[in-house]
């Protein structure tokens, strides 16, 4: 090839790079591994993580925004099709109809689950979707303050903090009730006219279900947008759609719908809003279109909101989103369907309540908050949580998340999650070990 081009060596191709900038040594990286060596290397690394089936073979009660749910086999079968995972963002609709139609179906399902009119094609994850909601609320209302629930996922809050630091938006924290762990709708009565949005998570970080209707009414009375964050999307299988309660924006994390927990990523942020707000929504949108013969198809649409057209005036800087993971959620919601999502959600409810009831009956242990919950709850232990969790860990149980890392006063509190994948014997062994603590 070089000869044909009249070049003598590969080095000829790089004469555009000044000689003194050219690296004169090999990169200080190991030599390439063969396939068997690569597999061995990564297998050994993977084995040094403790999951249900690797490392210490742990039983886990961790949730807190990343949930262990059953994943139907066919999800991986379908997303492993080259046509889906080795294609690009569908800019050429004639040869991207598979991706476009899947996103259209995803948007429809998210609308159904959330009770909203319009869903985008996905965002990175629940935390960044929440940050985008805050930015969007400021664009829509022109108001410079945002009120965030004190029981919002602390890492979501941290991401919002980072995103708005330079955006001229001020944050207010809405305190949660010490007894219920939930927000008090009456506390919204004093919202100022400069507050553009109220951001509420339900179920909240402590697992409690919020009184969305009352909160929405109070928010709207102050002229602000009501944003509902759903970090545990499985709850939507059972709980009232936030749109029905009056939400203007519903966003969150769709990881629960067939996406591996995978150390926190990749996940699938979802984002839905009312029709009125659709031209301010961040991210990609897929819409129906017709060709010259009237055949229906799908295209990326309303692109004038986006960075490649609007540049610094775009509704968001987002470009790549989570296409393949939105497809995972779509396949999950299709496979489980109307009845499966409902059934899985019901199992979460029953199993977590079974566990909570048993734990609360152990001497010295109690449930910290009184709100109704879906599949997570906070346990107050008679000893420091770290001590209790260490004891459990020695028995191959990860008892939950010690809350002190986010709430310094909660030295004895543990956030416990029970899903449909937790067997009764596992719950019973947790109870037995807690009794021995």
């Amino acid at each position: 090839m070089l000869r044909e081009m009249g070049r003598e060596s590969v080095a000829d191709l790089f004469t555009g790079i000044p000689d003194k900038l050219q690296l004169k040594r090999p990169l200080d990286l190991p030599a390439g591994l063969s396939e068997p060596e690569t597999l061995d290397f990564f297998r050994a690394l993977a084995e040094r993580n403790s999951t249900r089936v690797t490392g210490e073979r742990m039983t886990s009660f961790l949730g807190a925004g990343a949930y262990d749910h059953f994943i139907p086999t066919i999800i991986d079968t379908l997303i492993s099709r080259s046509e889906f995972y080795t294609s690009y963002t569908p800019y050429q609709p004639e040869i991207s109809q598979g991706t476009l139609q899947a996103i259209f179906e995803y948007q429809t399902m998210i609308c159904e689950l959330t009770g909203m009119d319009v869903s985008n094609a996905s965002l990175y994850d629940g935390s960044t979707a929440t940050a985008e909601a805050v930015l969007m609320a400021e664009r829509v209302t022109g108001r410079s303050k945002v009120a965030l629930a004190g029981n919002l996922h602390p890492e979501y809050r941290q991401v919002v903090d980072t995103y708005i630091r330079n955006a001229g938006i001020e944050e207010i924290t809405l305190p949660y009730d010490e007894t219920t762990g939930a927000l008090k709708p009456e506390s919204l009565a004093e919202l100022g006219k400069d507050v553009g949005a109220v951001i509420v998570q339900s179920p909240n970080f402590f697992g409690g279900v919020e009184a969305l209707k009352q909160l929405a009414d109070a928010t709207h009375k102050a002229g602000a947008l009501f944003v509902v964050v759903v970090a545990e999307a499985m709850s939507l299988g059972l709980l009232q759609a936030p749109g029905k309660a009056g939400a203007d924006i519903v966003c969150g994390e769709a990881q629960s719908f067939g996406i591996p927990i995978s150390f926190g990523g990749s996940y699938c942020g979802f984002f839905a809003c009312t029709e009125k707000l659709q031209r301010q929504i961040p991210g990609r949108l897929v819409g129906q279109a017709f060709d010259h013969d009237g055949r229906p198809g799908y295209v990326l649409t309303l692109a004038t909101r986006e960075q490649h057209i609007r540049r610094e005036k775009a509704t968001s800087n987002i470009c790549t989103n989570q296409g393949l993971y939105a497809l995972m959620a779509t396949v999950y919601l299709s496979t489980m369907g109307r009845r499966g999502v409902r059934e899985a959600a019901e199992h979460n409810l029953q199993k977590s309540h079974y566990a909570a009831k048993q734990i609360a009956a152990i001497n010295g242990f109690r449930l910290k908050f009184s709100s109704p919950f879906f599949n997570e709850f906070v346990v107050s232990c008679p000893k420091p949580a770290a001590e209790v969790l260490a004891k459990l860990q020695s028995k191959k149980i990860i008892g939950g998340l010690a809350l002190e890392r986010f709430f310094p006063e909660m030295t004895n509190e543990v956030l416990v999650c029970v899903t449909e994948t937790t067997a009764k014997e596992q719950i019973d062994s947790l109870i037995a070990e807690l009794k021995a603590v």
């Binding site: 090999p26 190991p30 889906f84 659709q278 540049r311 309540h353």
Partner: protein
């Protein structure tokens, strides 16, 4: 002679919702093994019984998604020469490794001592990217290139604040990706556009004039979006640094440089990398990607929290970074993408990475060489990993870039990137990547030459392309005027 065409099975298939029949099931959960004693207050419960979700069988799901998948073009079908998007082959080994249970089933809040494998993997990837870029501080948290840009600018802002003045302006060449100005805006900076020279390089005089003490940073893509290495990069960095600003390099085109030259050695302060471009992780029809950033030692304290540290015995997460910009994403970024990227780096090794770079540049130059007599080059200069043509010679027959791109579909290829960069009117940007062998390149060159002939002899054929696809060109303007963004049952759709 047409050596390739894109005919494939075109199954008819409606939406998944139209397959729904009451009572169909596609799943099987274990029986509930605890007493069903709990009922939430009815006011909290759904009142629609999830009627909007489909009821379908497993075979329905498989047939539906398999059929619609065949309507996509994919890298595994053939060359996908989208310039600047870097559609290289996605090794299957990386896919397999990323699915290992120890990675895929590990919870982000695992105690550090139970997640040593994950933490070591993150550290190894950070160290590899630091060596490749010549910039010692790496954060893997950003979820995509645009988020990496935003994070990088936040780090710059935090550093300038620590120096005493965050400044107001970010300079961006007119050839930049749209994400650059959008990211700068998110960070509270005003954008000032800098004209490029006729050769697509930074105009040093214009830069000197613009680089005052209001300027926080220059965002520079190198090689530029015109596919050319910024020959004066050291001088560019010096101008910014002398004026008290910093240099942000958009690493979207880093696949032209890996193993050959390092941004850190050029004087760049921050770079983001698109792991889904340079490091072979799949694009997934629009994500997930990953957009790590690498920074100088001075900027390292400002990187997002947490940081992975190794104390000689154990890997740990360090949250105590008082100068950090904070978090840009929950947990540890798009971890499953990070696993694939490390797998790519380790299978190629130092030599393989350099060879990939050389092959990518060779391939682009080979295409330039064979097509430059047929299509007009959009820019003069030494092409790196991509080559830009324009439609000047075809326009006299009424054939435009869009038509050429659509006609390429009929020849069994994905179109190149079109109308970008904006500074080249009618741009056709071709990036073959290192994944293509000479045979595929020759078939592509034949196809492009054939289209050029058609533009002369039968322009209508090109202007009405594509002809072999399931549907023709869609009316995007009408779609945007009255957007239909979700499926509705015929009964409801009719009433809207």
């Amino acid at each position: 002679m047409i050596k390739k065409s894109s005919n494939h099975i075109n199954q008819n298939e409606g939406t998944i919702f139209e397959r729904s029949r009451p009572g169909k099931l596609g799943y099987h959960l274990p029986a509930l093994d605890v007493p069903a004693e709990t009922a939430l207050d009815a006011a909290l419960l759904r009142d629609d019984d999830l009627a909007g979700l489909p009821e379908v069988s497993e075979v329905d799901v498989i047939r539906h998604f398999t059929r619609i998948s065949t309507w996509n073009y994919a890298v595994d079908y053939g060359m996908y020469p989208l310039g600047s998007c870097t559609m290289k082959y996605n090794p299957k080994l990386n896919e397999r490794v990323s699915r290992f249970d120890g990675f895929a089933a590990s919870h982000p809040y695992l105690p550090d001592d139970l997640a040593q494998g994950n933490l070591e993997l993150l550290k190894r990837l950070e160290d590899s990217l630091a060596e490749i870029t010549g910039l010692p501080g790496v954060s893997l948290q950003p979820a995509a290139g645009a988020q990496g840009e935003m994070t990088g600018l936040m780090v710059i802002r935090a550093c300038l604040e620590a120096r005493g003045n965050a400044r107001k302006v970010v300079l961006i060449p007119d050839s930049a990706h749209g994400t650059n100005p959008a990211s700068a805006a998110v960070c509270g900076y005003q954008v000032k556009t800098i004209k490029s020279t006729a050769e697509g390089a930074v105009d040093l005089e214009a830069l000197r004039a613009a680089a005052n003490d209001d300027v926080a940073a220059l965002m520079l893509t190198n090689p530029s979006t015109l596919g050319l290495f910024e020959e004066n990069i050291e001088e560019v960095c010096k101008i910014l640094h002398d004026a008290g600003g910093l240099v942000y390099m958009d690493g979207a085109n880093m696949n032209a440089l890996v193993g050959v030259t390092r941004p850190g050695d050029m004087g760049v302060d921050v770079i983001h990398l698109n792991l889904h471009k340079t490091f072979s992780t799949p694009h997934g029809g629009g994500g997930p990607g990953a957009g790590p950033i690498a920074v100088t030692a001075e900027l390292e304290p400002f990187l997002p929290v947490p940081r992975v540290v190794f104390d000689g015995g154990q890997y740990k997460l360090d949250f105590n970074r008082p100068q950090s910009v904070g978090r840009v994403r929950a947990y540890h970024g798009n971890y499953s993408v990070l696993v694939r990227a490390l797998c790519y780096i380790m299978t190629l090794g130092a030599e393989g990475l350099r060879e990939a770079t050389e092959t990518a540049v060779l391939n682009a130059n080979y295409i330039a060489h064979h097509l430059k007599d047929v299509y007009e080059l959009g820019v003069a200069g030494k092409a790196m990993h991509e080559v830009i043509f324009n439609d000047k010679r075809q326009q006299k027959n009424g054939v435009h870039t869009l038509d050429i791109a659509k006609r390429l579909i009929d020849y069994g290829f994905h179109p190149m990137t079109i109308y970008f960069p904006l500074v080249v009117p009618g741009a056709m940007m071709i990036e073959p990547t290192e994944s293509e062998g000479r045979d595929e390149l020759d078939v592509f060159i034949d196809a492009m030459k054939s289209i050029a002939r058609e533009a002369e002899e039968n322009p209508e054929l090109v202007k009405t392309a594509p002809h072999n696809t399931r549907i023709g060109r869609l009316d995007e303007a009408a779609a945007a005027r009255k957007p239909v963004l979700r499926w509705k049952p015929a009964s409801q759709a009719a009433s809207v």
